[in-house]
């Protein structure tokens, strides 16, 4: 199950979709809207996705995880639209025979989602709104070996 949804995410369904007789462990990661961020009072988050590619990239993360760890199944659901405080924006479930693999693959999945799945987060805070990752003046850190595919800083033209 690799899906986008505008409706509240049902964790039970996600768990059912990865439950396997050969699995002794299921690790889940659930992202929720936090009421504060970098000193701002957050009211809600709003997610926008590139449909089609987003689901495909989610599934690609599972394929990659299965190459790296002995996991049984992975499922990921991501919300789009407005997500209020305490509500779930993303849920990942990973089943495996052994817990070490489930933990590692789940951690990998959330890092990969936040790195390369085309889903964008707008923070609605007291006094304004902000697309996360695109604040003017934000400093980006280049990872070793990572390729910067484009930029639009005015001085780079």
């Amino acid at each position: 199950m690799f899906a986008l949804t505008e409706k509240p995410i049902r964790i039970g369904e996600l768990l059912d979709s990865v439950t396997r007789p050969g699995a002794g462990a299921i690790v889940t990661f659930i992202g929720t809207t936090r009421d504060h961020n970098e000193g701002r009072k957050v009211l809600a988050l709003s997610y926008e996705a590139y449909p089609g590619m987003a689901e495909q990239e989610l599934e690609r993360i599972a394929v990659e995880a299965k190459k790296k760890w002995a996991i049984e199944e992975m499922a990921i659901v991501h919300r789009t639209g407005r997500v209020d405080i305490g509500q779930v924006s993303v849920a990942i479930a990973v089943s495996a025979a052994h817990r070490e693999d489930a933990f590692a693959a789940c951690r990998f999945a959330i890092e990969e989602i936040k790195r390369k799945v085309p889903i964008w987060k707008k923070e609605l805070f007291e006094g304004g709104e902000l697309w996360i990752g695109t604040q003017s003046g934000q400093r980006f850190h280049t990872e070793p070996g990572a390729e910067v595919l484009g930029r639009f800083a005015p001085h780079s033209k």
Partner: protein, 86 residues
């Protein structure tokens, strides 16, 4: 030759549109298309933001040469709020 451009999130808001069809010369790369688009929409010149390029729902490098009716998406930093690197 025509390509279809889709804009999301901050780019969609800046350009005030989510979809643009643009006529380009054969041989144009996706990085060149971005610069052409910024000429059409100066509001897209958002400082300090790095982009990825996606064509037909897969990430490509800036040197990708556009084909007729390609669907091009310029991908601003995704939800992590961390560096937008492939």
């Amino acid at each position: 030759m025509k390509v279809k451009i889709r804009l999301f999130a901050i780019l969609r808001e800046k350009a005030k549109t989510g979809e643009i069809t643009k006529e380009v010369e054969p041989g144009t790369t996706v990085a060149e298309l971005w610069r052409l688009l910024q000429q059409d929409y100066p509001a897209l010149d958002v400082p300090g933001v790095r982009l990825l390029y996606a064509v037909n729902q897969s990430y490509v490098g800036g040197e990708y040469v556009l084909q007729e009716m390609d669907e091009v998406v310029f991908v601003p930093p995704v939800s992590g709020g961390s560096p937008c690197l492939l």
